[in-house]
């Protein structure tokens, strides 16, 4: 058992190393786009690093939402060339929507569980009501109330 746990740990550590190397390679190959992505997704990356939930769902959601908002700046950077990178980063019209998307992702992670809970509670209440009605019908039909 202990051997199994340590193997998983080893594997996780290897993955982090692999991701670090990949990121390093990307930064080495395309530093400006990487910098831009890092700036645009900075809130998501921050939360991703801080997220302690299994699978880091909040960070992942913010990352995905932020990524969706990064597509357009990346395309613009691609068309304008690497020199326009810092100009774009200084434009609030570029990083504002990206950070807003990250914030939207975070907001969704706060709202959707509440909404889901509401839906599930309401479904449970409805089923309990149906079961109680059935129970009453059976008790009445077979006269268990009198016997009890």
């Amino acid at each position: 058992m202990a051997r199994g746990k340590s193997a998983t740990k080893e594997k996780g550590r290897g993955l982090v190393w692999g991701q670090g190397l990949a990121c390093g390679a990307c930064v080495a190959v395309a530093p400006i786009p990487c910098t831009m992505i890092a700036v645009l997704l900075a809130p998501a990356i921050f939360v991703l690093l801080k997220d302690r939930l299994p699978g880091r769902p909040v960070g992942r959601a913010m990352l995905l939402c932020g990524s969706a908002a990064c597509v357009s700046p990346i395309v613009t950077l691609w068309q304008m060339g690497g020199e326009a990178g810092f100009a774009l980063l200084s434009d609030p019209g570029v990083f504002g929507p990206a950070w807003a998307a990250c914030a939207g992702g975070w907001l969704l992670t706060q709202l959707l569980p509440v909404l889901m809970r509401g839906i599930m509670e309401s479904a449970s209440l409805s089923r309990a009501a149906r079961l109680r009605a059935e129970r009453e019908r059976l008790l009445r039909a077979w006269d268990f109330e009198r016997r009890q």
């Binding site: 939930l53 769902p57 909040v58 992942r60 959601a61 913010m62 990352l63 995905l64 939402c65 990524s67 969706a68 908002a69 597509v71 357009s72 395309v75 998307a101 992702g105 969704l108 992670t109 709202l111 959707l112 569980p113 509440v114 909404l115 889901m116 809970r117 839906i119 599930m120 509670e121 449970s124 089923r127 309990a128 079961l131 109680r132 059935e134 129970r135 059976l138 008790l139 009445r140 039909a141 077979w142 006269d143 268990f144 016997r147």
Partner: protein
């Protein structure tokens, strides 16, 4: 005059044949019992009478069952049943041919010897011979029950079947050993007892006077004890010599010394027959036991039987032994009594009073082997136990306790063992054990009532059903119960169950036994329903609405056995409709619907299982809040990731294609 028809009467014909007119009494025809005109629907020329039966005096069932052929000069029973009596009150009647002519009670002049022999002695001896051949006795030969149809016609013996044997006999006409008994406990006796009564009748007719008239039972008994039967009955009457000689033999104290009916057919020979009967030894001085002064062993036995406490005291203080040895001079008898006293002293019994009663019984049987069984001051013959028990039971007499005690200790067996040569010990032992066993069973399956109904098969059912109804067999139980319920009575009592248990037949045996064994507080509706349904089917197929409605009301707890409310409501509606129709078998079928009950039980089990599932599910819902919350967070976060993915995909697609 036209004969009445069935429509003229308000009761079903007795035995499907006889109608009773309670408004037309036949004075004197019943031999002392009330009699009414009866009509035979099958034979318009037949003149019948209905002799009314008293509830406390059981009919002679053996005769009613087995004597079913006409006998010359004898009124034989033709049937028994219930019909309205005088004033419309229901009564029980024994149907017989009506005797022709007047009874001899109305004839006051002395009869000539030739007429006595040809018209009275020979015809009655012939009848007695026929009865003896069939193992019956008459036990009701007395002037008011012997009828003369014409001046030179033989006499006819009247009805003797509507009361216990000898019950209505004047004391003079009863032999000494029957006279000692309780009137209901004399038993069938033997044909010698009828010969005795015939001898008395001859004396009465020859002298033209009623013998021992005006004396009560005790006085007649005393007179017979003092003088002997013939001297007491004949007195100083002048009798023809033939009649005097015949009567002397016929009134012999020992039944074995009396001539048989066959002998009496030839009076001259019977007259010449002399049985050397040893006269009872008489002591020169008397012994007083209680109120009786005894001069001989027979009187002493009667005194001990009548007043057992005084008798036991006299036995214990040695006065009896001394009197027997020195007064009577019978050392052998004294030795036997001493032996009984020693045996009594050696026996250890918790109940001293019971031990004394047994001792008195043994002493009496030793002093006078011809005497009946004495128990706590009451004498009876073993075959008279049934009517005696019935009389005690219906009159709620303290005698009942004494009889129960006698049966409980098998007194009859002990008594019979003391006089083995004079009775059938083995038979009496079997009967006695049977009676004891039945009495020991808890009522109503056993007990005094059940025993009384068993010993008297034609004893009418008592209790609530006996009020205004005469039920003597199973065939009228259901209809009588319907009538009783209509009169707001509750006939479902212990008496009725004891009656059913005594008369049970194979088809109702199981349910009657279940009923008899039921001792709970609940009403055993199903057993009653099954029994009454069978009886209705067998004997009374007319509707019994009142009974059906009452039983349906009582069967509500049975309906509780059905779990399904709708089915139960439907059953209640069905039963109410069936009760209105008044037939019990469909009600039994509806309540005893085995497939339906099984389906109901299966449905109940399924419902119980479903309820368990529902309860478990509700419990899970009630306690699953935390689990649902965790799931909601998980699903919410996953959904957010999913939305992010979708947004990313859309943006990428827009960048690529747009």
């Amino acid at each position: 005059m036209q004969k009445p028809t069935e429509s003229d009467f308000q009761h079903p014909p007795i035995g499907g044949r006889f109608l009773v007119d309670g408004g037309k009494p036949l004075i004197g025809a019943g031999g002392g019992q009330p009699a009414f005109v009866a009509t035979d629907l099958r034979n318009a020329r037949s003149e019948c009478m209905a002799v009314e039966v008293s509830r406390t005096e059981p009919v002679r069932a053996n005769v009613m069952r087995d004597l079913n052929e006409p006998l010359e000069n004898l009124v034989v029973p033709l049937g028994i049943g219930s019909a309205p009596s005088a004033g419309g009150v229901p009564g029980l009647f024994v149907i017989c041919q009506a005797p022709r002519g007047a009874s001899l009670a109305t004839i006051a002049r002395p009869w000539p010897e030739a007429a006595l022999v040809s018209l009275v002695l020979r015809p009655i001896a012939m009848v007695l011979g026929q009865l003896e051949m069939r193992r019956f006795t008459h036990r009701a030969i007395r002037p008011n029950n012997v009828f003369l149809s014409g001046p030179s016609q033989p006499v006819t013996l009247g009805c003797a079947w509507a009361a216990p044997p000898g019950f209505h006999q004047p004391p003079a006409y009863e032999p000494f050993y029957a006279l000692m008994c309780h009137p209901a406990g004399q038993g069938d006796g033997t044909i010698a007892d009828d010969v005795y009564a015939l001898g008395c009748l001859l004396i009465a007719l020859a002298s033209g006077m009623e013998p021992l008239a005006g004396l009560d039972r005790a006085a007649v008994l005393r007179r017979k004890l003092e003088l002997g039967s013939f001297a007491a009955v004949a007195g100083d009457a002048r009798l023809p010599s033939l009649i005097a000689d015949l009567a002397r033999g016929m009134l012999a104290e020992d039944p074995d010394h009396r001539p048989t009916p066959t002998m009496l057919l030839d009076p001259v020979t019977a007259r010449g027959r002399r049985v050397a009967a040893r006269p009872p030894r008489r002591a020169p001085r008397a012994l007083a036991v209680g109120r009786t002064v005894a001069w001989d062993a027979r009187t002493l036995a009667h005194a001990v039987g009548q007043e057992p406490d005084h008798g036991i005291r006299a036995l214990r203080d040695g006065s009896v032994a001394q009197w027997l040895r020195r007064g009577l001079g019978d050392a052998a008898l004294c030795g036997r009594i001493d032996e009984l006293l020693r045996q009594h002293a050696a026996e250890v019994r918790e109940d001293g009073s019971l031990a004394d009663t047994i001792l008195a019984m043994r002493v009496i049987a030793t002093l006078e082997p011809l005497a009946p069984l004495y128990w706590r001051g009451v004498a009876f013959w073993p075959d008279g136990l049934g009517p005696l028990l019935a009389a005690a039971l219906f009159r709620k007499s303290p005698l009942l306790g004494a009889l129960e005690e006698a049966i409980g200790v098998e007194a009859v067996t002990t008594w019979a063992a003391m006089r083995e040569g004079r009775c059938e010990l083995a038979l009496l032992r079997v009967e006695s054990r049977g009676n004891q066993a039945l009495l020991r069973v808890r009522p109503p399956a056993g007990g005094a009532a059940r025993l009384a109904y068993t010993l008297n098969p034609l004893l009418p059912c008592g209790g609530a059903l006996g009020v205004g109804h005469w039920v003597i067999s199973l065939d009228s139980v259901a209809s009588a119960m319907d009538a009783a319920v209509r009169e707001a009575a509750q006939p479902f009592d212990m008496d009725c169950v004891a009656f059913l248990a005594a008369h049970t037949t194979r088809d109702v045996e199981i349910d009657v036994n279940a009923l008899a064994a039921h001792h709970g507080t609940t009403f055993p509706a199903m057993s009653w329903l099954r029994i009454l349904a069978r009886l209705q089917t067998r004997f009374a197929p007319e509707p019994m609405t009142a009974l059906a409605k009452w039983l349906v009301t009582q069967s509500e707890p049975l309906m509780a056995g059905w779990h399904n409310r709708d089915r139960r409501a439907a059953l209640a509606r069905q039963l109410a409709a069936l009760a209105e129709e008044g037939f019990l078998p469909p009600i039994v079928a509806a309540l005893d619907d085995r497939p339906g009950l099984e389906a109901d039980a299966a449905g109940t089990a399924a419902a119980v299982e479903t309820l368990a599932h529902i309860d478990a599910e509700l419990d899970r819902i009630a306690n699953g809040g935390a689990e649902r919350a965790a799931l909601a967070v998980r699903y919410g976060l996953e959904a957010t990731v999913g939305l992010g993915l979708i947004a990313l995909a859309v943006c990428l697609a827009a960048a690529v294609f747009g």
